[in-house]
């Protein structure tokens, strides 16, 4: 069905189901309960999970599949955001033109940057992408200010042109009249579930993006990309020119990033230069590796976990910690809180960095590999050699050299 075999179709169905039920899955705790702060089921967070999932899926095609480590994809995220906001200003608050332009512009950008950067491989490639990212950031911040509005960021105003919008059109980002920000709340017993239009728009697009990546993984093109990662030299000695393949992968991943940027702006119509900083590119690297580079589900998993944890950890400040550990004698309580508060609240990035280091060092296959190992413990079946690369991402060089 849809060009997928039976196994993949089931996989896709599961993914669709999980996505549709996200508002339930991320809100497991009853309102007002002690665990309620661990709920994640509100629009902002759910949207970000979907959006960064898209970003990571695209990045994974370049990094996990083809083996090229780019720190510069934040630039495409930024380009996508700026393009979308310009559409909101010029054409309509309907998000369709914005998203279309975001994908097109970031594709062009990626073609340019990719063409130049891919002339080198390995570290040189990574540093080139780094240089481009920083350059784009600086350009957006201080040079191309008519386009980007520099530090303040590009915002929409009531008196913007919006050629396509009639007088009765929504003043908020919408999809043919359905505002991104509107939600339907459902109360079931003690639980409150939020069904947000914006999230479902992102989710549908994410599913389509996931489907496309699934097709790519299973295609001869995907196999060629894996060949590039595995042994680029052998590939060229087999009569294949790696350059167009890597460029195609680069552009595709750039367009995914642009799509994510456009969606970010669609949910929150503001585009700022900070989205283009290379550290944002670093974040998507972390997500992909944490989840499992080179696998289908890994990047989405990584995006979800990180955005969720980021949310939770940031909310745990000293007061909350004191509340938890109040049962301890005072001295011990202060000590424990003191130690833990380094890692929580504003210390989230510290925890993230440590987690990342641990994953790179001990579990390079990310959460997917971890999950397989745990499942293996229970099943006690001998590991079969015939599984496809999705389920056994062997530790191999991440960069084609």
């Amino acid at each position: 069905m849809l060009g997928l075999n039976k196994r993949d179709t089931t996989f896709l169905m599961i993914v669709i189901a999980l996505t549709a039920f996200t508002p339930f899955l991320m809100q497991p705790f009853a309102e007002g309960s002690a665990m309620a702060q661990f709920n994640g089921g509100y629009p902002d967070l759910m949207q970000r999970v979907a959006i960064f999932g898209i970003f990571a899926i695209g990045f994974n095609i370049l990094f996990g599949l083809t083996g090229y480590l780019s720190f510069g994809h934040a630039a495409f995220l930024g380009v996508g955001s700026y393009s979308a906001v310009w559409m909101f200003k010029l054409l309509s608050m309907n998000i369709i033109p914005g998203i279309i332009l975001a994908v097109i512009m970031s594709g062009i950008f990626a073609l340019l940057i990719g063409y130049i950067s891919l002339r080198r491989s390995g570290i040189y490639f990574s540093i080139l992408t780094l240089a481009f990212a920083q350059m784009s950031y600086n350009l957006a911040y201080s040079v191309l200010t008519p386009l980007t509005n520099g530090e303040t960021g590009l915002q929409i105003r009531l008196d913007d042109l919006r050629v396509l919008d009639g007088d009765g059109a929504s003043k908020y980002t919408n999809l043919f009249g359905f505002n991104m920000s509107s939600s339907y709340k459902l109360e079931l017993g003690n639980h409150l579930f939020t069904f947000n239009v914006g999230f479902y728009v992102c989710a549908v697009i994410a599913i389509i993006a996931f489907y496309i990546s699934l097709r790519i993984f299973r295609s001869p093109f995907g196999m060629m990309l894996r060949a590039v990662k595995s042994n680029q030299q052998r590939m060229s000695y087999t009569g294949l020119n790696p350059r167009p393949y890597t460029l195609a992968a680069f552009v595709i991943s750039g367009m995914y990033a642009g799509l994510a940027g456009g969606l970010l702006a669609s949910m929150d119509p503001l585009a700022g230069a900070e989205r283009m900083q290379w550290t944002v590119g670093g974040e998507v690297v972390i997500m992909t590796i944490l989840g499992g580079a080179g696998t289908l589900l890994g990047p989405v998993l990584g995006a979800g976990v990180i955005k969720y944890l980021e949310n939770i950890f940031s909310k745990i400040n000293e007061t909350v910690l004191h509340g938890w550990f109040s049962f301890l004698p005072d001295g011990a309580e202060d000590f424990v809180v003191g130690v833990l508060s380094v890692f929580t609240g504003k210390g989230w990035h510290l925890t993230l960095g440590l987690l990342f280091m641990l994953v790179v060092t001990f579990l390079p296959g990310g959460l997917v590999e971890g999950g397989k190992r745990i499942a293996g413990l229970f099943k006690r079946k001998p590991k079969s050699d015939g599984d496809d690369a999705e389920h056994h991402p062997k530790h191999n060089p991440h960069v084609a050299e």
Binding site: L69, I116, R119, R120, S121, G122, I123, Y124, S126, I127, L128, L130, A131, F132, Q134, M135, N138, L139, Y141, S142, V143, L144, W278, T279, G282, V285, I286, I289, V342, K346, G347, H349, L350, L352, G353, L354, F356, M357, V360, T361, P364, P397, H398, V399, E401
Partner: protein, 343 residues
């Protein structure tokens, strides 16, 4: 002409910082074959050594003086640094004033220790792993280090002034026959430049004229052979890492008065330093140093008003543009060895 000289001078302090960091990066890459994304963090830690020493020296005893009041109407607090109590007010104040240069002495063992711990604890395990993994784990380390600093020192830049004696500027112009005040340059920056030259010379001399240095250079050229010769290259590499860390750290210490240390200065300098290394030629020590100074001066020229008029914002991107051009036209950099990592 005086403008040109001024810009050259202006580019020297940043160029010195780039050169020193790039030098350390190249040492680590050339000897250990490791790409160290945490090197900028070492620079930052050095700068914060200066901050720490300044804070320590300023630890004061607090005495309440009932005769004076502060603006809230409470008895004024008279803070007397312990240093002044121990050494007398003049000596004590002088010590505090010189906290930055003193921090050099303080920071060297600290940085060497940090370098040792990093190498033995982490980097060592990544020698055989592909470059991408090294980049990733050191990137993670850089984030961790910067966040730790942020936890303890806050997110705001902390001014760390240079000693009073060096606060003014020197009128170079007069020396060269120009009008007074045509070319003036802050004392401290001159010192920084001279200081970095001294360190660079010391490192080169060390590598050239000592047996240890010779072994390291041999290891840079062909690590496997050196190992086969029965020389324990590992220990020497650890020491080399410590040295590289110390160089970066000391560069940071001395830079503190120029640019108030803040927690993300490491990352800021890191990207540029990698660019410098690539332009100079990965694996080439003289290339790294040369490229550092050149790019610093280039950046300075690009920020001249005359140039900014025609090419607005060029100063922000000139270094990256240069790197991109060089990577395409001459991928081995200005002085890199032919065939090293070429496509």
């Amino acid at each position: 002409m005086d403008q040109i000289l001024l810009q050259i001078l202006n580019g020297l302090d940043k160029g010195s910082a780039y050169a020193l960091i790039a030098l350390g990066l190249t040492l680590i890459f050339g000897t250990l074959g490791v790409v160290n994304f945490a090197h900028g963090a070492l620079f930052m830690i050095g700068a914060f050594c200066a901050v720490t020493l300044q804070k320590i020296l300023n630890i004061s005893s607090v005495v309440l003086d009932p005769t004076k009041t502060d603006f809230l109407g409470n008895p004024a607090k008279i803070k007397t640094p312990y240093v002044e109590t121990w050494f007398g007010p003049e000596m004590g104040a002088s010590i505090i004033d010189w906290s930055v240069p003193l921090a050099i002495i303080f920071s060297i063992p600290v940085m060497i220790a940090v370098g040792f711990i990093m190498e033995r604890g982490l980097i060592k395990h990544f020698y055989k792993r592909p470059h991408a993994d090294q980049i990733l784990v050191t990137f993670g380390l850089a984030i961790v280090l910067q966040e730790v600093v942020k936890q303890f020192y806050g997110a705001n830049p902390i001014p760390t002034p240079a000693p009073e004696a060096f606060k003014g500027s020197y009128d170079f112009g007069v020396l060269l026959g120009y009008k007074a005040n045509a070319i003036i340059y802050p004392y401290w920056r001159i010192i920084y430049f001279g200081f970095s030259l001294a360190i660079i010379s010391a490192v080169f001399a060390f590598l050239r004229f000592t047996t240890f240095g010779m072994v390291v250079r041999a290891g840079m050229a062909d690590r496997e052979t050196v190992g086969l010769l029965g020389i324990n290259i590992d220990k020497r590499f650890t020491i080399m890492f410590g040295v590289a860390a110390a160089v970066a750290g000391v560069a940071g210490v001395m830079y503190a008065p120029i640019n108030s240390p803040n927690y993300h200065m490491g990352m800021d300098f890191l990207v540029l330093s990698f660019v410098v290394v690539v332009v100079g030629g990965m694996g080439s020590l003289p290339g790294a140093v040369l490229a550092g100074f050149l790019l610093g001066i280039l950046e300075s020229f690009a920020s001249m008003n005359e140039i900014k008029q025609y090419l607005p914002g060029i100063d922000q991107i000139i270094i990256y543009l240069t790197a991109i051009v060089i990577l395409l036209v001459r991928p081995r950099g200005l002085m890199g060895k032919r065939g090293v990592m070429e496509e």
